[in-house]
Structure formats: C-alpha cells, structure tokens
Symmetry: C2
Subunit: 103 residues, 2 copies
C-alpha cells in the first residue's frame, strides 16, 4: 500500500519506548515513529543520509555542531557520517523519518 | 544547515507553477515543494524510490494501481520503477518529498 494517513496509522512496538511502522523499498526506508517522553540517544553516526520531520510533539536534535529543538513542521537532514543525537522532553514525539536502505 | 522550519522556509522558482527548496546529500534529496492548483503530471517512472507527505493542501496521486486524494499528514511511497502521476485541485499543495540521489 503506497499511502499512509498518519492520523490513523497503527504503530507497533519497535524498542522500549518507541513504536513505529515502516515501508522498506529498494532504496529507501520510510518510518513513522513515536518516541516516549524522557528518552535519549546519546549519539551515533552512520555512513548514509537520514532525514525527516516532526509530525507531533517536540524533540531536541544535535547534528554535528548544530543543536535545535524541533516542533511540528520542522525538518532535519543528517548528512552521511555526521554525528547526531536526540532527546525527548515530557511528552512523546512523532516523526516521519527517511533513510537510505543499507544493501 | 541541517534544520528547516516549513512554516517559514523560503521557496524558490523551480518550474512554472512549482517553487521548491532542496537539500542534496550523499544519498538523499529532501525537497519542500509547493505546487499551484490546476497542475498535473500525466505520469512517469524512475528506477529509484520516492516518498513524502502533504504539509498543506491536497493532491491526487496515482501510484501503480492505487489512486488517492492525499491531505495534510498523508504520506506516499513510490517504489522504484512504479508508474506514478499526480494532479492538484483548486488550491496549491505543499509537499515534503524525499528521493534517492542519482549517482
């Protein structure tokens, strides 16, 4: 099914505190994910681009030297190899996230 | 700059009836684009995945055998090689669109 309505999409347990739904194509992985409040990724990097936007809620992201609190309708682009981290605040955040599929 | 606020992002003339702003990475192209009402793409295909979502407005998309009118918070995933087309209605549509960068 090539279409999603994010208002009604059913997400599934992915990791503790994160539910998600993914489409995996030939080249791209499109994921809708909801991350609980009070979660944090201390930072990592990978050799492929990743990008996305905030659908609901708020998240702080650090991409290289840039730190920003992202709200609804704000987007991020994480260049391949760039160190990045994130944390959520008191409420959950919902993201649409796209990354290159690793072959 | 790894972050965009779509509420304030300045788009630039891309083609007649379409304004856009793009980030081109190693692997991905992330584009915010606004398409005027009354526009149509009669259909094409390409050998890479493409996906995105509606930020504002409405667009009809046909992906393979699936036709749908997409509104805000609705997403599309166009598999590599799949024929697809779109048309706008009376108002403009704003999309966040991600595709594989062609090497």
């Amino acid at each position: 099914m090539p279409f999603w309505n994010l208002n009604t999409l059913q997400l599934e347990e992915f990791r503790p505190g994160i539910t998600s739904k993914a489409v995996i194509g030939n080249d791209l992985i499109m994921v809708c994910m909801q991350i609980e409040g009070g979660k944090e990724d201390m930072g990592h990097e990978h050799p492929f681009d990743q990008c996305g936007m905030v659908i609901e809620g708020q998240i702080e992201m650090v991409v290289g030297a840039d730190r920003r609190i992202l709200n609804v309708n704000e987007c991020y682009f994480i260049p391949a190899g760039e160190h990045h981290s994130w944390k959520t605040f008191d409420k959950s955040v919902t993201l649409l996230d796209i990354s290159l599929k690793q072959s």
